[in-house]
Symmetry: C2
Subunit: 368 residues, 2 copies
């Protein structure tokens, strides 16, 4: 955060993001969905997946690595399930439509699940889980991603950061929201430390010879060459449970790929055999569980609220004044960002100026 120089009001930024997407040929409704996903990331304080990725989307669209028009095909369907081909459209639109299908099925039959292939970067995983929570359901969302995590006893980036998202409504203003990589950390956090010229904590990343790496710049340059790898949750080896994080990551890979015969592991590098950039071909898995099939919604809301309040009331560690439950930090950040605007560091400022230049969008007065 040291390098932060300016904050842009949320509404102004949303308008800009949406206009960039539309200038890329994305239809109005779809551009609104993409914007909503990106800004939600910034509102949650997850800077790696929000406006910070707009330039990446722009360039992938410009280079025809993904399609601005999102045509999804339903490959297979039953009362509770769908298999969808995203045809390399916009990942956020594919994710939004797929989770809506899961929600519709859950409303009718109690549970709905949708497996997706040939998708692209879909932003934060938590967005889709939250969609279900807003409908009074439990939502789950999983995705695979380009290889950067080593399996236990290995050093090669093989698995993606493969996040798990889980959301449920509560009797409080703040929903329960878990949204986390199955690795200890993810590339975005290392990029933040790199820009701030800080080191990464020991135990996050290993080299090809299984030594801890702590230089962010070194790490970022070596992951693509398979000379550095992130570690799964639980760390290296089995002593602190690294095999558990690795196993959870494998589960996410299975759900995101095996059910729809999609690409997996090394196939998600984003490059073909000749080293040419290609479609991303990422896979997702969405699930919605209709709470009213189990209990009246207000009863469930109170039950989960009681669990969360009981956790927060648990005895604190010395020097700690508060125990959080999942979703609270994002909820508080959302309020803060709405009041103060989205933080823009030097690199992001350059990205935005580049897009303004490229697309002739200089009417946005961000830098006054």
């Amino acid at each position: 955060m040291d390098e932060q120089i300016v904050r842009i009001p949320v509404d102004m930024l949303k308008e800009f993001i949406c206009e960039v997407f539309m200038r890329c040929g994305i239809p109005n409704d779809d551009a609104n969905i993409c914007t909503e996903v990106l800004i939600t990331s910034d509102l949650h304080g997850i800077e790696s997946h929000g406006i910070g990725r707009l330039k990446m989307y722009y360039e992938r669209l410009k280079n025809k690595l993904q399609n601005p028009i999102t045509n999804i095909n339903i490959i297979k369907e039953s009362q509770t399930t769908s298999v969808i081909d995203g045809n390399h459209g916009m990942g956020m639109v594919i994710g939004f439509k797929s989770m809506n299908i899961a929600i519709q099925k859950a409303r009718q039959f109690g549970i709905g699940a949708v497996a997706v292939r040939n998708s692209t970067h879909f932003g934060i995983d938590g967005f889709y889980a939250l969609m279900a929570a807003k409908e009074g359901m439990i939502g789950m969302s999983f995705t695979n991603a380009r290889p950067c995590v080593a399996p236990t006893f290995g050093t090669q980036p093989t698995l993606g950061t493969n996040p798990i998202a889980f959301s449920a409504p509560t009797d409080e203003e703040c929903p329960f929201l878990y949204d986390a990589a199955t690795s200890i950390t993810q590339r975005g956090k290392i990029e933040v430390l790199d820009r701030a010229e800080k080191t990464t904590p020991e135990g996050w990343v290993i080299s090809k010879d299984a030594k801890t790496m702590t230089n962010p710049n070194d790490i970022l340059s070596k992951i693509p060459n398979q000379e550095a790898a992130l570690l799964p949750l639980g760390g290296e080896g089995e002593i602190l449970g690294g095999h558990k994080g690795y196993g959870l990551s494998t589960i996410v890979e299975i759900l995101s790929s095996a059910l729809q015969s999609g690409a997996f592991l090394f196939q998600l590098s984003g490059y073909d055999d000749k080293g040419k950039a290609t479609h991303f071909r990422v896979g997702h898995f969405f699930m919605a569980i209709n709470i009213v099939n189990f209990a009246p919604l207000d009863v469930f809301r109170k039950n989960i609220g009681d669990i969360l309040r009981s956790l927060r009331a648990s005895l604190k560690s010395p020097g700690k004044s508060r125990i959080y439950t999942a979703g609270e930090k994002e909820f508080e950040m959302r309020k803060f960002i709405h009041e103060n605007g989205v933080p823009v560091n030097r690199k992001l400022e350059n990205d935005i100026k580049y897009l303004q230049e490229e697309l002739n969008l200089k009417n946005y007065n961000f830098w006054a």
Copy 2:
């Protein structure tokens, strides 16, 4: 393993376990289910949840803390969902019947999920996930448990070890099977180290003042007094992702309790307000996903097999000759135990002899 003195053939041990359960008043069919769950734990090499717990079941039954006759009530039902009250019967029978209901629903509608309240110790979580895999489905099983894990920034044992189990069939002999606590470790492993007079690794357990504890005997005596707590996967604080293990544990607690208004967190201590031992009131959540609703079973089997083989073929760490995928170790252990028998250490030998004495089952010639 240092202390191991004898191995008992699997079939002989199964017969004994089943007879103990029947002498406790458990009907024949139910005793067979309970035996199958316990012996599966020993076959998987999870000594903490197998025959090692038989004495505990015997004593809880003798003290009327759970019922030998398992009457389950279906409280609420829809095409894909059930809420079940286990009425403090045998957890393994409750789990077995509940997962079978989920499997039946999945066969008919694609997905089935069952939430259970008022259950008791149900053995290893993985048994129920495996039931679905044997039927060509993805199986998931979750349970809460007595408080022993501290939330991030806390020191009080608040959450259970809250395991996640996930299983799926593959094109290999060995199914994919993930079965792990959301904490770094569990009490059983600390008991094993205690008997072997070894220390626990740093980072597994903290004291009330958030200091690492490494004396197993000290740890085991202090957890019930809330003066020691296991740490969630990812360890203390947030630097290595402890909040992720804590969040996953919270998800398991929500699924295992909030959907059926069951007991949670401190309510699962096994003691009432006056310190008297009481019903355990644990909750479970089971899910089955019918793979054929997504893809032909043989296609899925090959897809998942390809993922697992690709993981195993990933580059090894220096000095490591093999990368495992979840379920392989259990599968190999199963073969080994079938050939060599179940290991019985001194404490377990004493437990078995005690049960032989109590129930007049001296005809079993374990110690020849």
